[in-house]
């Protein structure tokens, strides 16, 4: 059966530990390329950060489109054109005010298209609109954000997961920034917003995988048959379909944004923003399964308890993941952990328990007395499929 079919049927299909090493190498390669691009080429900061120059001209009946066409050959096609009250046009672009050759050429082009003297085109240097204060406040906020999130994950989950989540987020940001450096895309405030979106997305995705691992960890503790790596691999398999679907539903709107932006003129900003998001979302999904998850496995395997478990299992890796899953489900059945901790109200808990009792009753009239139901089954929950090779 195909991989997708297996996934659809909830059958563990990917032997993650096998691919982790290879993916790790790919990640490392990407990171090196990103870092090299960042250090050699640097980021191409937009006018909002660096400032630039501004021309003002009485355009008469000239449209902004005509002005753009006139600036295109000079390499100023992405200039920002604004109509000020009356016929006045303001053109803002990234350029050094001291580069007189370049700026004069633009002034001449503007004078030509507007039909006025070059001396009627006024020219001035503009400072950044995205000031140092915004940048530094954003940086400060990011540091606080990372610290608080780290503490949050530590308390909610484990320190190993905290470390892994931060590495994964760092991975995604570096790769996205690297793409900007490599292709010298303009970094605008919209780009910064995109980075922040990616950061949130990447964390969110990673936390969902981790939540699954933690859930399975509690279940597996009962039977001691799975090494931590197997457990992690199993968890990654369980959330894989979700990851794929989520990536799909997140990437699709961004992709259409890119395509539509490309087809329609004047949506340069839109494109760069969408591109940053596209790369970021892909990296975010990838890193939660191929960076964060293996890192948790590696870190946890160092713990004495899991090292012992691994030794006791004698390096006998359960070859068949489905076998592992069955084992996990069995152990879960044996000591059914209350599914609800924390958030869900007691009422909801009782209701869930009640309806479970009822549904079990429907199948076999088993009297159950307590809320902490254990449904001992005599058969393995899933049949082994014979046709599967």
């Amino acid at each position: 059966m195909s991989l997708m079919g297996d996934l659809y049927r909830g059958r563990p299909a990917v032997d993650f530990p096998k691919v982790w090493k290879r993916m790790g190498a790919i990640s490392a390669l990407f990171l090196v390329v990103a870092a090299v691009a960042l250090f050699t080429r640097g980021l191409n900061l937009g006018i909002e950060f660096e400032g630039g120059v501004s021309w003002e001209v009485d355009g008469g009946d000239v449209s902004t489109g005509e002005v753009r066409d006139a600036l295109e050959p000079l390499g100023f096609g992405d200039a920002r054109i604004q109509e000020l009250g009356g016929n006045l046009l303001r053109i803002r672009a990234e350029a050094e005010a001291t580069n007189t050759e370049e700026t004069t050429a633009v002034s001449e082009a503007l004078a030509a298209v507007a039909g006025v003297e070059v001396s009627d085109v006024s020219f001035s240097a503009v400072g950044p609109s995205w000031g140092d204060e915004i940048t530094s406040s954003a940086e400060r906020a990011l540091v606080v954000f990372f610290i608080v999130i780290a503490v949050y994950i530590w308390i909610r989950l484990q320190w190993q997961m905290m470390a892994a989540a931060l590495v994964a987020v760092g991975h995604d940001i570096l790769i996205t920034v690297g793409v900007y450096a490599l292709f010298q895309f303009d970094v605008t405030p919209a780009t910064v917003i995109a980075f922040l979106t990616i950061l949130g997305y990447s964390l969110y995705d990673t936390l969902i995988v981790f939540d699954k691992i933690k859930e399975n960890e509690a279940k597996a503790a009962a039977n001691q048959k799975l090494s931590y790596t197997e457990l992690v691999s199993l968890s990654a398999n369980q959330v894989l379909m979700r990851s794929i679907n989520t990536t799909f539903t997140s990437v699709l709107p961004v992709l259409t944004l890119l395509i539509v932006g490309r087809l329609l003129l004047g949506a340069v900003t839109l494109q760069e923003f969408a591109l940053a998001l596209l790369i970021g979302i892909l990296a975010g999904t990838y890193s939660s399964v191929f960076v964060a998850t293996p890192m948790v496995a590696v870190l946890k395997e160092r713990q004495p308890e899991y090292r012992e478990l691994r030794e006791r299992l004698g390096g006998q890796e359960t070859e068949d993941l489905e076998e592992a899953r069955a084992a996990l489900v069995r152990s879960e059945r044996a000591g059914e952990r209350p599914a609800n901790t924390g958030l869900v109200s007691r009422r909801a808990k009782e209701r869930a328990a009640r309806s479970k009792i009822r549904s079990e009753d429907e199948k076999r009239h088993r009297p159950v007395g307590e809320t902490n139901v254990s449904t001992q089954r005599t058969h393995p929950p899933r049949p082994r499929k014979k046709k599967r090779r």
């Binding site: 949050y152 909610r156 058969h379």
Partner: protein, 516 residues
């Protein structure tokens, strides 16, 4: 059981529907940002003072203060740049245009003047601008309040430095703008009435900033002074003089034990708080009164404004206020919206193809949360000047995919349970709490991030954080109050029950076969 599940579903649909209708009837709609619909531009030019060159550093400082002030107007995304010596402020939307010009464009020095007499009710007393006095350069500097006690002048009856006196206040005189000099007594109007005011003891230069805050049940203005002799020391000198109300410097309201210090901007008394202590801590000066939130905010803005280190010419008189067009324009917005519509359509098709009826639930849940988002964004646009830029709209489109994730997490949980041999009916109640827990903790992380970004940043990052936070809360609300009951009702309904295929779930016949 089914009826109980339907209650929140009906409730949320009715509430959201009512809110949406209310918002549409009230004519509230999202305000578009500068890049999409242009706005108004205010240009500030420094006053040309010979021998007093304005440095770039001062201009940068002024720019940051102006940015803070505009941010305080709401969460709109202004574009503020330095262009040579000038500061160019572009504000999106035109609704608050006049107010924006007023706040950005005011150029007068903020002064604190002791209240000698007043307020006298304005009605029935015609205002006659006092043009008889010659403005004299020597009276432009503020004085030190405690020095006035030593000089022993009777400002109430004689005026000070040629300023008007009580007699003129009673005959309806007001000080003309040209005569409104720091080192003189003046007669000025405020909301509460007309005042006879002493020479300015403190100016805006002594302040670092101010903000409106809720103290207990009352709105108050919290002021922070600069440190040093030109900051808090000067302020405290005035405070101790007025607190004791000595020597006719701050006699204030007749019969009152403590004196008042008027906050004057642009020849207008903004507020005349009574001084309740002889000295204050630099960062703990509170102005209280029965302020509404808007009043407190306005006073805070005025106090903030007075801290500008550069004096600018009045843009309203120099004609440096004009409208500007969008930099991106309608076509970019249309492109964004078209892309969004196509993207959502494809995503909807995919969800329905994959999850069948559950997919329908996911799309409906998305519609519910979008409606809530529209209401909230429109409301904030209307009241706080929140502006949607193209980046913001794109962010919202992206958030669609992310909010569908909550649904997917739930559905995949369901599927997992079914694969373990449970029936669809028994799985829905079991899966939701576990799935919601995951969604909740993941969303909480996003929310924490949003709150931190909102409170620690400024400008457009702040606007983004707000949208992010709202989106993640709405995601939880829609999932819990809409999706959960919706799926329950669907699964329990006779028509679909037992048909796993209709829910895009693997058929459980395989399992049943073995169980039998």
């Amino acid at each position: 059981m089914k009826g109980r599940a339907a209650t929140p579903l009906i409730a949320i649909v009715v509430i959201v529907g009512a809110l949406l209708a209310g918002s549409l009837i009230a004519g509230q709609e999202p305000l578009l940002g500068l890049d999409l619909q242009g706005g108004v531009e205010v240009v500030l030019e420094p006053v040309d003072n010979p021998g007093d060159e304005v440095t770039g550093e001062e201009l940068d400082q002024a720019l940051e203060i102006i940015r803070d002030r505009v941010d305080a107007l709401g969460v709109a995304e202004p574009d503020i740049t330095r262009q040579g010596d000038r500061i160019v402020i572009q504000l999106p939307g035109v609704d608050d245009q006049e107010r924006a010009i007023e706040l950005v464009g005011q150029t007068a020095e903020l002064r604190f003047r002791p209240v000698l007499v007043g307020p006298l009710p304005l009605s029935g007393v015609p205002a006659v601008p006092d043009e008889t006095l010659d403005p004299e350069p020597s009276h432009t500097e503020p004085v030190v309040c405690s020095d006035l006690i030593l000089e022993g002048v009777d400002m109430v009856s004689d005026g000070y430095n040629g300023g008007p006196s009580l007699a003129q206040l009673e005959t309806g005189f007001v000080t003309s703008p040209a005569n409104d000099l720091a080192g003189r007594t003046v007669i000025l109007d405020g909301e509460a009435g007309r005042y006879l005011l002493g020479p300015a003891c403190v100016t805006g230069a002594a302040l670092e900033g101010a903000s409106a805050e809720l103290q207990g049940v009352q709105w108050a203005v919290r002021v922070t002074a600069r440190s040093g002799p030109d900051g808090i020391d000067r302020f405290n000198d005035a405070a101790s003089t007025c607190f004791a109300a000595i020597g006719g410097i701050c006699p204030a309201v007749p019969g009152d034990q403590v004196g008042a210090l008027a906050i004057v901007l642009d020849g207008q008394v903004q507020s005349a708080p009574r001084i309740q202590a002889a000295s204050f801590d630099r960062d703990n000066i509170n102005i209280t009164g029965s302020f509404s939130q808007a009043e407190a905010r306005d006073i805070a803005l005025v106090l903030d404004f007075g801290a500008l280190p550069v004096e600018f010419t009045d843009p309203a008189t120099t004609g440096l206020v004009r409208t500007v067009s969008a930099t991106l324009g309608r076509d970019a917005l249309d492109a964004g919206l078209l892309a969004g519509a196509i993207g959502v359509a494809i995503v909807a098709a995919y969800m329905i193809a994959y999850y069948r009826l559950l997919g329908v639930g996911a799309i409906l849940s998305l519609i519910v949360s979008s409606a809530m988002l529209w209401v909230i964004v429109s409301f904030l646009s209307d009241t706080r000047g929140l502006a949607l830029t193209l980046a913001g709209i794109t962010g919202l489109i992206v958030s669609i995919g992310v909010s569908l994730d909550s649904n997917i997490v739930y559905f995949e949980h369901l599927k997992e349970d079914i694969l373990r041999g449970r029936s669809l009916t028994s799985s829905i109640d079991r899966s939701f709490p576990a799935a919601f827990r995951t969604i909740f903790w993941a969303n909480l992380a996003t929310l924490i991030g949003a709150v931190i970004l909102y409170f620690l940043t400024i400008g457009s990052v702040r606007g983004f954080a707000l949208m992010l936070g709202i989106a993640s809360i709405l995601d939880l609300v829609a999932t819990y109050f809409f999706l959960r009951p919706f799926v329950r009702i669907l699964v329990l309904s006779k028509r679909f029950s037992g048909s796993n295929r209709a829910f895009g779930m693997p058929p459980d016949t395989e399992v049943e076969a073995v169980t039998a």
